[in-house]
């Protein structure tokens, strides 16, 4: 077993590979993903549908549905002051995993209405989550539940404890979901597209809430989204994924103002910018996102890439190149960048090429 480097990383995913064994063949949903979540930071995983961002998040907590399975890779989880443990070695239903899931790492899902049970009151679901991880009796748990609802900005929490999910709006349900996720004071919150189903006005307030809670508790956040606008609002670090692989990693400012990978650049070019005026013609990426079951050989992005080199990009897997401190790009364009050093100077030239 490889010793984990002395770092402040709370979560370190190394070479995670999750495959789905379907009747039509193996779908390589996540294919060698490495990323780290430092303590107290927000890391955004961004990508289009089918890029494996949700499956990556679910793999961390052993929530991958059949016929999917984590087939390789390590997920190092570093508890406060304790030796790191490899979550990938825990069985999805093991006692250890159940203690981590919801207790140390908790998750918020995309569809707030569908994630809450319509058969139980909001309070019952909150109390259940609290008592699973904390030695409290029913009364104390209910008090804590009301506290949690107040903290996530729900007015009159004592009354809302007795409400059912269908009596609340989408934004309120997502606040309840966040309250449940916070029940045991987790060190890491995984948020899988938590605002996608919500209106912009509600989305803005949920993002504010996650920001505030993070400042208050010091927890780390792994935020999964497809919306680059949301990434720019919330991320400290960004991981860009395409078809099961990480194509680029870096700080949020670097990713938006000095993107290295052709996919990141194309993605940023194809979103309309507010204030740019009407009638702007958008840059497009040719073709469609291929289905993960029929992935192109070589670099997965090469059929859509404007910089693809014939005979190279379509044959061999691109190298994962270090293009700066804490930055990587998985592209042959930057193959020689690591020879120059960490100042990233060559990177700038490469972009212009």
């Amino acid at each position: 077993m490889r010793p984990v480097q002395a770092s402040d990383a709370l979560l370190e995913i190394d070479g995670l590979t999750t495959h789905f064994f379907t009747r039509e063949g193996t779908v390589r949903a996540v294919d060698g993903v490495s990323l780290t979540v430092p303590a107290g930071k927000t890391v955004c995983v961004v990508g289009e549908s089918g890029c494996g961002k949700s499956v990556t998040a679910r793999s961390v907590l052993g929530l991958v549905d059949e016929p999917g399975r984590v087939v390789a890779g390590e997920i190092w989880w570093r508890r406060d002051g304790q030796a790191p443990v490899d979550l990938a070695r825990y069985g999805p239903k093991s006692e250890e995993m159940r203690r981590v899931r919801g207790g140390e790492i908790s998750m918020v899902f995309q569809e707030p209405m569908a994630s809450l049970s319509p058969m139980y009151t909001v309070g019952a679901q909150l109390v259940e989550a609290i008592r699973l991880h904390m030695p409290l009796d029913r009364e104390q748990a209910r008090e804590r539940a009301a506290d949690l609802l107040r903290r996530v900005g729900i007015p009159r929490p004592e009354e809302r404890l007795d409400a059912y999910s269908f009596q609340l709006s989408g934004g309120m349900c997502q606040r309840v979901m966040i309250a449940i996720a916070l029940a045991a004071g987790p060190a890491l919150l995984i948020a899988d597209e938590p605002t996608t189903a919500l209106d912009v006005t509600t989305q803005a307030r949920i993002i504010d809430l996650i920001h505030e809670l993070q400042a208050e508790t010091g927890m780390s956040v792994l935020f999964i989204t497809h919306d680059l606008g949301v990434v720019a609002e919330i991320a400290d670090e960004v991981v860009v994924m395409y078809l099961g692989t990480v194509v680029e990693r870096g700080g949020v400012d670097e990713i938006f103002h000095d993107p290295k990978h052709p996919y990141t650049r194309a993605l940023l070019g194809s979103i309309p910018r507010m204030g740019a005026g009407t009638g702007q013609r958008l840059a497009t990426i040719r073709g469609n996102v291929p289905h993960p079951s029929d992935r192109p050989s070589g670099c997965p992005f090469h059929p859509r890439c404007g910089d693809a080199v014939a005979g190279l990009c379509d044959r061999s897997d691109p190298p994962d190149v270090r293009v700066g401190p804490g930055r990587t790009a998985r592209c042959v364009l930057h193959e020689n960048a690591d020879l120059i050093g960490d100042d990233g100077q060559l990177g700038a030239e490469e972009v212009q090429r």
């Binding site: 006005t201 803005a204 497809h226 680059l228 309309p272 910018r273 507010m274």
Partner: protein, 344 residues
């Protein structure tokens, strides 16, 4: 000034709320509650608002998928005659349904999985008795090519296509009858970012080629800015502001528009704390029991008690500048922030 292709006056769509064993009507959801709107030929008019504001219902009642409760939908034909679509019966509507077509939101549920592309795109031609046999086939092939799909896929079923390709099929189906007005209801909301730009550019090219007029319904303000000439903002069944796109984004005159603009996440981390932040409370009021006075006063940061919440004295959509209309009782006193031009 050119005559509008569509002139909507005081349009209302009310859905009954039924309750109890015998289904007695206990109230009405006022999905569209007195909308006035004109659309000029060749323009793209954006219609934005939160979910539940009635924007989809308005689009659907203009295309007469839904029959409006009261009001007028004046449609000007190619010969200059104006017809009130709201008053027509099913059979009389037929010729107009050829001229007003809809592109639906979800490319996965709006195509019949048991029909081939030839059947899906050719169906309107067949149903209207315009073409059959090889002529139908030629026209379908031609239309598919126009929207960027190879005609050789004509005999395949929708499941074989990605979301972006299906939306192209949807557009081909809407355009095959040669419509003049197209109602695009969230045409890119279900698509991936990299595919969304392709479809938006395609819509723009087709608009030029066929001189189409668009009513573009969307909740995404950045997309609306990039494609629309004018924008109408809707709240709880009413239009609260209407202006040219650049004007509306730069200097909104309704607090709701300001809040919407301020809530859109901007794809630039350097703008994170730049500009005014307006945050609204989550809850949209119940549209079957709207608040007294200005419908927006319950969430409005500028609402004044005794002014904005007086029953029977709600604001009306007033002209406050050239082509700029807003429905706010305090729009003269307020100075609202728009979207500043972003850093390069």
């Amino acid at each position: 000034m050119t005559m509008p292709i569509l002139d909507v006056r005081d349009l209302k769509v009310h859905f009954p709320v039924k309750a109890g064993f015998i289904g007695r009507t206990v109230g009405h959801v006022r999905a569209v509650d007195g909308v006035d709107l004109t659309i000029q030929p060749g323009e793209t008019l954006g219609l934005v608002g939160e979910s539940g504001c009635g924007k989809t219902t308005l689009g659907r009642s203009i295309s007469r998928i839904i029959k409006p409760s009261t009001g007028m939908i004046g449609y000007r034909g190619t010969d200059g005659t104006v017809t009130d679509l709201a008053a027509l019966r099913e059979r009389e509507l037929r010729p107009f349904q050829r001229q007003i077509r809809v592109v639906f939101q979800d490319p996965f549920s709006s195509l019949n999985p048991r029909m081939t592309l030839r059947q899906i795109v050719g169906e309107p031609l067949r149903a209207n008795g315009i073409a059959t046999g090889s002529e139908l086939e030629d026209r379908v092939a031609d239309m598919l090519a126009r929207v960027g799909l190879s005609p050789k896929y004509m005999d395949r079923y929708p499941h074989a296509f990605s979301g972006g390709e299906r939306q192209r099929v949807n557009i081909a189906r809407a355009l095959i009858l040669g419509p003049r007005l197209v109602i695009a209801d969230e045409p890119v909301s279900a698509l991936d970012v990299s595919v969304r730009a392709q479809i938006l550019n395609l819509l723009r090219d087709l608009q030029e080629e066929f001189s189409l007029t668009f009513l573009f319904v969307s909740h995404d303000l950045s997309v609306v800015e990039s494609v629309c000439d004018r924008v109408a903002v809707m709240y709880l069944g009413k239009i609260v502001e209407l202006a040219e796109t650049a004007e509306l984004y730069a200097s909104p005159r309704h607090p709701y528009t300001e809040a919407l603009l301020s809530a859109v996440p901007r794809p630039d981390p350097r703008l994170r704390d730049v500009g005014r932040r307006v945050r609204l409370t989550d809850d949209l009021p119940d549209p079957s029991n709207p608040p007294a006075g200005c419908y927006f006063h319950t969430r409005c940061p500028y609402a004044v008690a005794g002014v904005c919440d007086v029953s029977g004295q709600g604001p009306v959509l007033d002209g406050i500048g050239p082509g700029h209309h807003a429905a706010c009782l305090r729009s003269d006193e307020l100075s609202l922030a728009g979207v500043a031009s972003e850093l390069a």
